[in-house]
Symmetry: C2
Subunit: 775 residues, 2 copies
């Protein structure tokens, strides 16, 4: 499946820059220039009104609407929840001499926009050519505050180049926003008005009654008139704003700042009055802050981020820009300030995937946070703890016990209306369990483990104990009627990934129970009583773990992805015409499922997750079998292959699979960036460098590194938090240097040898795994 | 799964009789008292208006509406078609002294209704007690003509018991009918008016633009006034009718007859004007016919039916009534007068299953028609020939070649919105092929075979050649990612039924091609050219047939339902609490699919269809394995088990599985007769007697009988058409007597011995297969 870059944006180490406007690419750019602060996100749409192709998207984390779906059978969901497009708090209209500026119809020049990773500010500038010959330079800036997550800031600068005169500007809040994916508007205006210098509205969603307060104040120079604005005629009171008459002078800049406070509320028990007052109070608390002060805070925040999370790549400007874009987007989407949030597949940048969180969170994103921002990692796991009651409910719906985590969710409930995924894919639960294990092992945070993790683990085990069955013929335990992460094998028995992960789940949980009983008997006893955990139950888990079927061909060591996989008809995936990709769009749905073709790694995935349990030879044998059968119709897929290729001594393959990881969206490789960024997928780019080239493994007793470097890179460096220490890893063509940047010394393994790394650092010559060597 | 009779109706050899009205059971009775003539059907609803629980259902064969469904992937249907509830042509209102008669609110007594299988007339009578003490006897009669399929006849008789005076009656056509299943009305009035003594309307469906002309004339005695009636206020012109003022005399009967002509038109190219005129012309042609003359024709028609299709059971009045009800309903639903029609799962008696035809047609119903009404059997197969272009189109949608027949259809297109059924169930095509083979073999109609059958066979083969694959490990041919008739194994590889049937399909088609080339080279050559049939293609089919995987355990002879079935976790189906049936309603959807539990016979089904290819011992071994695993959540299931139990010498089991077959609806065994009759299922009752007790097998060279008789029956008899001869089979506790009732002598096998049967008949002593004997 060839991927081809759509090279368009300028390469810059710290910015995304677009010079000149390409209307046909506007939606792609809107995605790339998205801003977010975990609490809210806005696409890079032209806020002044644009009649061209645009997705005017403004989203709030966890704020959702729902539509009914026709569930025909028990256990299939009845309502589809989605992150709903919300208030356009950037709403602006600019009018001069009877014309209204609109990039789709107005003449303009000198268009340039940029997003600066160091300031977090998106800036767009252009010169408007009025039909009467006047030229007005417009500069639009915006950011969403990383310090005060309710705060969105907008600045528009007007500079008349060849005239002096007045213009009119409308600034407002528009709740009459189309949710494009459903073709409907979902907001009703509950309350609106001017109060304490704020122009505000409280909106409410039609079905779910989620509410959103939005209020702004304007600061502008050269104001001649300031009056209430009327919005579009057909807005049902869903618009409120102000209209300013500004008097501009040639060659001088007139600035209008709009600071908006947004407050989302999902608790239906709270009154409109309460939320309205909370919103106004919040606005009051921000009243002293002006645009410049907020922007300074913003820059300060990002400086801190880059200090601990930057990856430097010397000798490869494109990947340098790419990886920083990935890190920037990950922080924008999530940084753990607001417990109860999760990470949608497209973050806060579009409507595709409906804002839902998948196992991507634990399998792609969590490692990034564990090693860069452990607090955020814990917060992500807290989301699963908070939604444990929903998972318990869901397990009951499926006639099982314990907790079954949803395959796709915005609020903890299942929101995938394809039963084959929501009912057959069991791998979110084990991903959560693996995430707990991973987080605790790297951070040493046993308090989280004992307070919350253990309860989740026990409930997840109960589900896996209930859902599994013993084969009638083999007497082995396993899972029947399931789909693994490889979604091209839709309904199978004994998926090797699921079986393996369940086995490890049982074992780890029993280990945690043992350790907890030892370390903190009181807490353990209380938990065991509350959950009615019995010895018999634990014995049952032990037996199920021991008797778990892990299908493997003895002669070759190749794991069979599921019962019967080796007999699946073979397809030479390279014989598929390029025009048929993506296969989901071009092949009959059922046809996808009857070959030995896989969509993404399944066996290789668990061999990566539990790397320390497999020899290099075993990895090589399975890689050689599965890699030629994998079409990578998931963006996680190339990363795992790259990481394993590096490990088994195939640097060229490793680089080939890495190639488009950091620039997936910047170069629009999948041709669907217009729908939003591949937010969770780009976390894989980070894994690719740290686990792939860095050769880090984090599943064993100690942290492990097998550093390598692509041929054409001069040097790269990254940092990881490990047991409270910040460890700096720097690799050039000859050496790897590992040193402690902050915190106590740590014991790690480099190329299989023990090192105690301190601030002074350790310098090791690079070693390359040989393709032919024994494992 | 215990089934319990809901004994309610009186037992009568030739009628269904309900004495006294049970409002809580009204919908069940409406289904049972349904009338149909293949062209149209009406449920037994109270036509005078009823505010109680009713499903006012009036249906026309093949007339459909559609609703869009959100298809997400290629090959999944985008619009759901369904038989739409249509004009209430029986609409009546009866008013006296300010009261309107309504069984839900009016006082009445002496309620009785009956449906007579010999006349085809449904009659309901009661005495209305007005609040002022007046008593008016009302008798409602109706039938849909079997001679003139457009004609519906209604007679209402008014007999005042204790007064003389006037009443008002409205008789009309109401297109404002709710399609309950979708909660919508689907008809618009296109044209309405009084013309040539007819009160008429042309209606049109909203989406599909199907049109329906309906026009009636009234004949009544004692009419004082006759005026246009106004309908309900909110009917958007969708009602038209007349209001009569009748002058009644105590003790005398006043009669109002309403003869309605209905004309359904799906061809969108025809103008409203044309259809309107056609309708009027049709009405004109019926103008000479009065109610009594039409009723006489009706009785005559049914007399003919019973002459050739009756089954007599002496010594078991309940089954006698039951089997006649089944035969009556089968003829009502379909008798082959109108090519292009098929048989919906509920016939024309309700909205459940949306009026769609399934493989039921070929696998349940076709044998009844082959042996009772070969013209109708051919007509059913013609439906598949007419819809061959749709099947070719559907195969393409599924990235295959040839023809793929829909799992559920009203017009030849696929209309099942559950992809797992519509895309994975391949057994309609082989059922059609088997039906062709069966029909041709029994009737000798090679002209149909060569003109139409061969083309279907070739196109079906092409699909099965394209859809199948060779196993990578075994090198055997088979089908991956399929669901067999047993819908409790949802997506499997090498389903034994599908593989077996495909093998036989290839072999039979090649045989037909050979015979046709021999017998009629010109026709063959033209067909081969038109279809571009090559020798290579035929060689490919031969190879696929030869290499077809038929999984079987060698030691026991038990066929494995699909790859891995023997390892599916075992479930003792008798351990399932009764309250959990039907499992579809009580179990999580995915849970149904992970046991060795089967919904209906799959292996046993092909062993029945190709009975002559399996020894009795093989049938016994497979019966003993699969029967305890089958929960019979399909009504075909018990019949096949009954038939096989009789064959392997288990008469008690045979009777146990037969027990509720003839009275499935009369005694409401499945508790869902309220939704409509199990029209296609009740065809299995016929098979149960003829194939089961009669021991007929019709898949071999000659027709075979192994007669037996349940212990408590004195005698039973049935007739079958075979090679143009009408053969009478009569069985008592000692003997079976087979004789030719009409036509030339025939060679058949009785208990494995050859007989030439003539009009004089052959008398053979009953033989019983022993449970323990070798096969």
């Amino acid at each position: 499946m060839p991927k081809i870059a759509d090279k368009y944006l300028a390469v810059d180490p710290w910015k995304v820059v677009e010079e000149g406007f390409d209307a046909g690419r506007n939606r792609v750019s809107e995605s790339i220039f998205s801003l977010g602060n975990e609490y809210m996100g806005v696409r890079g749409y032209p806020e002044e009104g644009y009649r061209g192709d645009t997705l005017l998207g403004s989203y709030f984390n966890g704020l959702f609407e729902e539509s009914k779906v026709g569930a025909q059978y028990k256990g299939i969901i009845q309502s589809l929840r989605f992150m709903v497009n919300a208030v356009d708090w950037l709403y602006t209209r600019i009018m001069a001499d009877g014309e209204t500026f609109d990039m789709a119809v107005s003449a303009f020049s000198d268009f340039r926009r940029e997003l600066d990773f160091r300031s977090g500010i998106y800036k767009r500038e252009l010169v408007w050519h009025l039909t009467n010959g006047k030229r007005l330079k417009l500069t639009f800036e915006r950011f969403v505050s990383m310090r005060i997550s309710n705060l969105g800031c907008q600045r528009i600068t007007f500079e008349p180049l060849n005239f002096s005169g007045t213009i009119r500007v409308i600034a407002g809040l528009d709740f009459a926003v189309l949710h494009e994916d459903q073709g409907r508007m979902y907001w009703e205006a509950v309350r609106r008005g001017e109060q304490n210098g704020n122009t505000a509205m409280l909106g409410r969603t039609v079905q779910t009654k989620n509410r959103l307060f939005s209020g702004f104040r304007l600061e502008a120079t050269d104001v001649v008139e300031d009056a209430a604005a009327t919005g579009a005629t057909d807005c049902d009171g869903r618009f409120i704003g102000r209209e300013l008459l500004l008097s501009l002078k040639q060659g001088q800049r007139t600035v209008m700042d709009k600071l908006t406070v947004n407050l989302a509320e999902k608790d239906v028990s709270r009154s409109d009055e309460e939320i309205w007052n909370d919103g106004l109070e919040l606005a009051l608390r921000c009243a002293d802050l002006d645009y410049d002060a907020a922007a300074a805070q913003q820059r300060e925040y990002w400086t801190q981020v880059w200090k601990t999370s930057d990856i430097v790549i010397d000798g490869d400007p494109e990947n340098q820009q790419g990886i920083r874009f990935c890190i920037f987007q990950l922080y924008q989407t999530y940084h753990g300030d607001n417990p109860g949030f999760n990470i949608g597949a497209k973050g806060l940048t579009g409507e595709a995937y409906r804002g839902l969180a998948f196992w991507d969170t634990e399998s792609y994103c969590l490692p990034f946070y564990i090693f860069n921002n452990p607090k955020a990692a814990r917060s992500l796991l807290e989301f699963r703890y908070r939604s444990l009651p929903h998972a318990v409910e869901r397990a009951k719906e499926l006639d099982c016990e314990g907790a079954f985590y949803p395959i796709a969710t915005i609020d903890g409930t299942e929101s995938c209306d394809l039963w084959q995924h929501s009912n057959l894919q069991l791998h979110v639960g084990t991903a959560v369990a693996y995430g707990i294990r991973h987080y605790v092992s790297i951070t040493g945070d046993t308090s989280f483990l004992y307070e919350k993790g253990a309860e989740m683990l026990i409930q997840i085990c109960r589900f896996y104990a209930a859902r599994g069955q013993y084969g009638q013929k083999t007497g082995e335990f396993g899972y029947f009627g399931v789909m693994g992460p490889d979604e091209f094998q839709l309904m199978v028995n004994n998926n090797c990934y699921i079986n393996w992960m369940a086995k490890k789940l049982f074992e780890y949980t029993l280990e945690v129970i043992g350790a907890m009983r030892e370390a903190d008997f009181g807490t353990f006893a209380a938990l065991a009583e509350r959950l009615a955990l019995t010895e018999d139950e634990q014995a049952d888990w032990r037996e199920k773990a021991d008797r778990m079927k892990i299908p493997q061909e003895q002669e070759t060591g190749i794991y069979e992805e599921h019962d019967g996989f080796f007999d699946m008809p073979h397809l030479d995936i390279h014989s598929i015409p390029v025009a048929e990709f993506p296969l989901y769009a071009h092949w009959s749905y059922d046809r996808l499922y009857r070959y030995d073709m896989i969509k993404q790694p399944d066996v290789l995935m668990f061999m990566f997750l539990y790397s320390s349990e497999f020899t290099r030879a075993a990895k090589r044998a399975n890689y050689d079998y599965y890699e030629p059968r994998c079409i990578h119709e998931s963006s996680l897929s190339p990363s795992i292959h790259s990481i394993l290729a590096a490990e088994i001594g195939r640097p060229e393959e490793a680089y080939k699979f890495f190639e488009f990881a950091t620039r997936l969206d910047l170069d629009n490789y999948n041709r669907n960036t217009r729908e939003g960024l591949h937010t969770t997928s780009i976390a894989a780019a980070w894994m690719n460098i740290v686990y792939g080239f860095g050769g880090m493994r984090s599943d064993g007793e100690k942290l492990v590194f097998h550093p390598s470097i692509p041929d054409h890179w001069e040097r790269y460096s990254f940092q990881v938090f490990y047991q409270g220490t910040r460890l700096m890893v720097e690799v050039n063509q000859e050496h790897a240097i590992l040193r402690v940047a902050d915190g106590p010394d740590v014991e790690i393994l480099i190329y299989g040898r023990d090192y105690l790394v301190a601030a002074a650092g350790v310098k090791v010559g690079l070693e390359q795994a040989k393709a032919g060597e024994p494992g």
